[in-house]
Assembly symmetry: C3
Homo-oligomer: 152 residues x 3
């Protein structure tokens, strides 16, 4: 299992640590605020049988979403987030780039935890559902998403 | 197990596909934007023992929520969503009815994935919690919710 | 296992009811709208091996979030929620304190259900992620969060 074509790499956790099958997708988000990790998740569950896929982003400034990609909704989501959570000087949480405090509110609106049912080694997603990580935090472009499979 | 009295039907997935107990609730949402599926979920886990119920909507324009119903919050939620996600011409994602692009943002704010603990065949919901599917997408009234039970 | 230093108590569910390990954190939120329960969750999974932690708030007026605490984001989140969900007289759902209807929308934006991966008895949280319950409902300060562990 290898990374995608956009500079991202994947690595396995330390062997022997976990009885639950798990995998960490490593992302470089310096050039994007929305990273589609559907293909990585599909590869992870391939052959895994039936169960639940836990998708978890171990970050305080990123969130997960299941949306359609490739038809404009990425830009629409960024416009909506900029309107609902303005990047300005109002925030108590201040460090890093101006307005960075807002990045810390993103995971409240877009939780970093999602669970997807799996059957026969396939995620039971809808036709247009894609699994994405959203991170507006340009101060920290290196992001991870942990995939864990719990068999039924 | 049969459908409710409002035109909805339920069906079992193809036999033999899944070792995880799973069930798809089929909904006709042509006359409502919020469908209460608590009773269907309660029937699904009845007798199932202890574990986790995964609730998943395989749609790019629908989301799930746990709210009180029957006391006005459905209308309040629709007002709030209309304010936070206006149905107008601003969206890049354009097809179908005017403003349909906004429907594609709903699952970012209301994720289509929820997990409910189950003990002794009962969901451990709070007194007023009801499980609902929210879909403002009138272009596609046929909706599904997949219930999956993972035993402890 | 005992409660924290802020008046909260914890109790075990009735013995014999559940084969899934489960625990209810009891909170007194009369003096706070955001309660950090990360330490209680860490104690709960200690020694539990690998699996998934289900975190569930059985309330119609509370939600969960994974955010950084102690650096200002609690105040920022309350400001954002007050702006996105104004506490005024607009709501159909009316009872209790003025504007209480808005409390019933909180769990739509901040779902009361989260799932956290666990390995070797430790939650696989990011460095700054803390698990919090958010409740703006001062009419009902007694709150609970149910922790359930599903082994892998």
């Amino acid at each position: 299992m290898r990374g995608g074509d956009d500079g991202r790499a994947e690595r396995q956790p330390e062997p022997g640590l976990s009885a639950v099958r798990t995998f960490v997708v490593e992302l470089d988000m310096s050039r994007t605020a929305i990273a589609d990790i559907t293909d990585e998740a599909a590869r992870f569950v391939r052959g895994a049988g039936d169960g639940l896929l836990s998708v978890f982003a171990p970050h305080a400034t990123a969130g997960l979403a299941l949306i359609e990609t490739g038809a404009g909704s990425e830009a629409d989501l960024l416009e909506a987030l900029g309107r609902l959570l303005p990047r300005d000087a109002r925030y108590r949480h201040q460090h890093g780039s101006p307005g960075h405090g807002v990045d810390h509110l993103l995971p409240a609106l877009l939780p970093p935890s999602l669970t997807v049912p799996v059957a026969g080694g396939r995620m039971l997603l809808g036709t247009w559902q894609r699994l994405v990580l959203v991170s507006l935090n340009r101060d920290n472009p290196g992001r991870q998403v942990r995939l864990s499979f719990l068999a039924g």
